[in-house]
Structure formats: structure tokens, C-alpha cells
């Protein structure tokens, strides 16, 4: 008994050391990410099911981001492969090389910029308040929403917007969970991406009683790569080319995001 508990304690101390060694570990920039992707012949794109940027039709991933990712892979001369990831683990997936980029309407927050290398912003988005239709009439400005109890995605731009406006907000796991909170009445309102709100609530969706109202903050979407990746200049050049030849706007019009596209110069 005595010896076995001693061994146990030693093992735990060792593990603790290992965990802190993790903290000190340096991230090395790979020599060339572009060559690595070209070498294996596929660009693995980390996404979530997020209409209208990436979503499934039949067996194929489509959407504005999905179509652009396919075009970018073609430009690189590799195959494009989509993998659904847990959004919270996106930076781990990148560093782990289980994906090569995150291309899924990702807001360029300070946290994202710290965790990965990002492309130029290509799309505007707003953080928007979603409420039950019955409450929408009384909501004209951001100040009108002060009394409501909010649900927001933890670590999202919506959470930051709630903090800035002094709202009482509960952090939940995903934007979809935040919408479910409103529908279930466990929260009165939520803050999500306007592009997502347009696709997710209102007539013809599972949430016909919900609607979106006041826009709180404007923000920009970008594509994320491993730190120090040389795919960043490649994608910025690709965006410029696609914007100049009109193919970017054409893809945007297909999915109704043309009003949000940022000119690439």
C-alpha cells in the first residue's frame, strides 16, 4: 500500500512536469508549408457546417468558402479535401498537421491572429442580435437590449460584443447552441454572425419564431494557416487574382454574400 501510493505520487509529479514542459515548448516554423502541401498532393481544409460559407449538398461541400477553397487548391495544383473539425480545436488541428488551413468564415480576432497565420480579410460580417419575433419590435438600438439575458459562444466575437455593450451574457459552446438557448427560452437573446443568422433563423428554418435585429459590431473574415506558413502570401495573391477576374464575386453571388465581399487589391 505505502509503496504503491508513493509510486502513484511520483508518476503524477512527472506528469505535471510534462504538462509544463508543453508550456515552454517552442513552435518551429516549418521550412515550406507550400512544398509540404504540394508534396502530399492535397490541401486539407478544416471547416464546420456553416451555411452559407461551408455546407453540404448531397455528398459535396459547397458554399462561398468551399468554392473558393476548391479554386485555391486547383491553383496550387493539388486536390482539395474538407474535414469537419471541432471549432474549439482549430489551432491544435493546424499545429498537429491534421488540417492545412481553417477556411470557414473565421473572424479575425486577436486570439485567432495570435494562434495562427492569417490571410487578408475577404469578407465583412456583423455581430447581430437574435430574439423571438414577439420581442423584436421593441429592439431598435443596442441600448434597448440591455435588460435581456444573452447567450453567446465562448471566445467568439459575439461574446466580446456583449461585454462591450454591458449585456448580461452566458457563454455556451457554439453559436448553434446559443440560438437553441433562445428557442428554448433559457436565454432571451443571442449574438451571432449576421451571415449565419440570415441562413439559420426565420421562415423555412427550424427556428421560424426567431428573427434578427440590431447589428452590434462589424468584423472581417480571413483564412488561417500554420504559424509562419508560406501559403499566406500565396492565398493573398490568389484572392487578388480572383477578385480582379471577377470569379470571386461570381462565387459570392451564387451564395448571396456579394454585399459583404471586401475588395482585394
Amino acid at each position: 500500500m505505502k509503496t504503491s501510493s508513493k509510486i502513484l505520487i511520483c508518476a503524477l509529479v512527472l506528469l505535471l512536469c510534462a504538462a509544463f514542459a508543453f508550456a515552454g515548448g517552442k513552435k518551429e516554423a516549418s521550412s515550406s508549408d507550400k512544398a509540404y502541401v504540394a508534396g502530399k498532393g492535397t490541401l486539407v481544409v478544416g471547416i464546420t457546417d456553416f451555411a452559407p460559407m461551408d455546407y453540404k449538398e448531397g455528398n459535396e461541400w459547397i458554399g462561398f468558402d468551399a468554392d473558393m477553397a476548391k479554386a485555391f487548391a486547383k491553383e496550387l495544383g493539388v486536390k482539395c479535401e474538407f474535414i469537419e473539425i471541432d471549432w474549439d480545436s482549430k489551432s491544435m488541428e493546424l499545429e498537429n498537421k491534421t488540417i492545412d488551413c481553417v477556411w470557414n468564415g473565421m473572424t479575425l480576432t486577436d486570439g485567432v491572429k495570435k494562434a495562427m497565420a492569417t490571410s487578408n480579410a475577404y469578407c465583412n460580417n456583423a455581430q447581430i442580435i437574435v430574439v423571438n419575433k414577439a420581442k423584436a419590435g421593441a429592439l431598435k438600438t443596442a441600448a434597448d437590449a440591455k435588460a435581456l439575458k444573452f447567450a453567446v459562444e465562448a471566445g467568439s466575437a459575439g461574446e466580446a460584443a456583449a461585454k462591450d455593450n454591458g449585456y448580461k451574457a452566458t457563454a455556451v459552446e457554439t453559436q448553434a447552441a446559443a440560438v437553441m438557448e433562445v428557442a428554448a427560452g433559457t436565454s432571451e437573446a443571442c449574438i451571432i454572425d449576421s451571415l449565419m443568422a440570415a441562413a439559420m433563423v426565420g421562415p423555412g428554418t427550424s427556428y421560424p419564431d426567431l428573427t434578427y435585429t440590431v447589428a452590434l459590431t462589424e468584423e472581417e473574415y480571413g483564412v488561417g494557416f500554420r504559424k509562419g506558413s508560406d501559403l499566406v502570401p500565396a492565398i493573398n495573391d490568389f484572392f487578388k487574382k480572383a477578385y480582379a477576374d471577377g470569379s470571386m464575386m461570381k462565387a459570392a453571388e451564387k451564395y448571396g454574400t456579394q454585399a459583404s465581399i471586401i475588395p482585394q487589391k
Binding site: 474549439d88 480545436s89 489551432s91 486570439g111 494562434a115 439575458k149 465562448a154 471566445g155 455556451v172 433559457t186
Partner: protein
């Protein structure tokens, strides 16, 4: 930074321990009631209890959490949990206690049914009532026999508490994950593993001590 992370992880860990202790406090007695139900002589009661046990053991605890918390509002437009953090915690407790009672009840049932008929008969010969036979003779031996399987479930519970985060109860894993989202650092999430290991290590020692204490017949 390390200090701040450990502080936040400790906050999450306290919530994890709360979930753990309250679930045990609720599920250990409730499990005994459920086990009586599933052994009842009255057929309809036995059927209903075994049906419930089937549902609870046959669906993921994560789904049960979501159904219990969001279900009333989504299906009947009647949110029974209120809007505060206390409502979330209560919902988690209800889901965990029901879930673990069902698992515990099967362990109890196995223990009770393993006691030989002779023990009951001996009790009757000595002039004890059925109640006295159960509490003074049978239960004592049942407890001895079920400690190892109960220990198994108890250690599983330590890790199942991490499911509470799906309805935004901020336990240990949630605390670790927030650093990925806000600061882009991943080591806090891995460090949570140390907390779980230390906790279940202590429980293992406690359980084996308890088992030794119960070995008075040998």
C-alpha cells in the same frame, strides 16, 4: 500566466468536485430505491422501472443533458429551469443523478441477488422481521461485494462531469478550453488531465482503504 491559468483551472476543478460529490450524494440512495423497483414483485412497477433503466443506460449522458435542459422549452414552450446559472447546475444534477442511479441500481441488484437464500432463512429462524434481515444481515454483505464495481462507476463519474459543459456549466475542461479560444494557448487543456489523474488517484487509494476496512470476515 501560469499562475492565472492554474487559478482559473482551480475554479473549474471546484465545480467538477461539486458535481461529483452531489451526484454521489443523490445517486447512491436513489439507486437503492431504483434497484428495489426493478426487483419488485408487482409486475407493472418492475416493468416501468426496467424500461426507464433501459432508456437511461441506452442513450448518451450528453444527449440526456441536452434533452433535460432544452427539451421543456423547445417542445412545450415552457422553460422550467429559469435563466440563471443555478438553473443550469440544477439541470445537470437532475440528469447526472438519474443516470448514475440507474447504473448503481444494477450493481445493487447484482449484489442483493448474489446473497444466498440461506442467509434469509437463517434470519427468519432467529425470529428477525424481513426488514431486520435486509438491513442487519443482507445489506452488510452486499456493501462488501459491490465496492469494486461501485469504485469503477465512481471513477467514471469523475470524468463524466466534463459533459456538463454542453449546457454551459463551467467545469474543468471548459476552464482549460477557454484559453485556446481567448489566448490561443493549448497547454492549459492538457494540464486539466493532471487534475483528473490526481483526483482519481486519491479516490483509488480511498476505495482500497475502504475495501480493506470491510474485510472483517476474513
Amino acid at each position: 500566466m501560469i499562475q492565472e491559468v492554474l487559478l482559473r483551472l482551480c475554479d473549474g476543478f471546484i465545480k467538477t468536485i461539486e458535481l461529483f460529490l452531489l451526484t454521489l450524494a443523490g445517486a447512491i440512495p436513489l439507486g437503492l430505491v431504483v434497484s428495489f423497483g426493478s426487483m419488485a414483485k408487482f409486475k407493472p412497477l418492475k416493468f416501468i422501472v426496467r424500461f426507464i433503466v433501459w432508456i437511461v443506460r441506452g442513450t448518451p449522458l450528453m444527449l440526456q443533458l441536452i434533452v433535460i435542459y432544452y427539451g421543456p422549452g423547445l417542445l412545450f414552450h415552457q422553460n422550467i429551469w429559469g435563466m440563471g446559472t443555478s438553473g443550469r447546475f440544477t439541470a445537470v444534477m437532475v440528469a447526472f443523478i438519474i443516470n448514475y442511479s440507474c447504473y448503481f441500481s444494477e450493481i445493487y441488484r447484482g449484489g442483493i441477488e448474489s446473497i444466498s437464500k440461506g442467509q434469509y432463512e437463517a434470519g427468519q429462524v432467529l425470529g428477525l422481521t424481513r426488514r431486520q434481515v435486509f438491513f442487519k444481515i443482507v445489506l452488510l454483505q452486499v456493501i462488501k461485494r459491490i465496492v469494486p464495481p461501485m469504485g469503477n462507476e465512481i471513477i467514471t463519474l469523475v470524468k463524466d462531469t466534463s459533459l456538463a459543459r454542453v449546457i454551459a456549466v463551467y467545469e474543468l475542461i471548459w476552464a482549460g478550453q477557454t484559453f485556446i479560444k481567448s489566448d490561443g494557448i493549448i497547454w492549459p487543456l492538457f494540464t486539466t488531465g493532471v487534475f483528473y489523474l490526481v483526483f482519481s488517484g486519491l479516490l483509488t487509494i480511498l476505495l482500497s482503504k475502504f475495501e480493506k476496512k470491510l474485510s472483517y470476515f476474513n
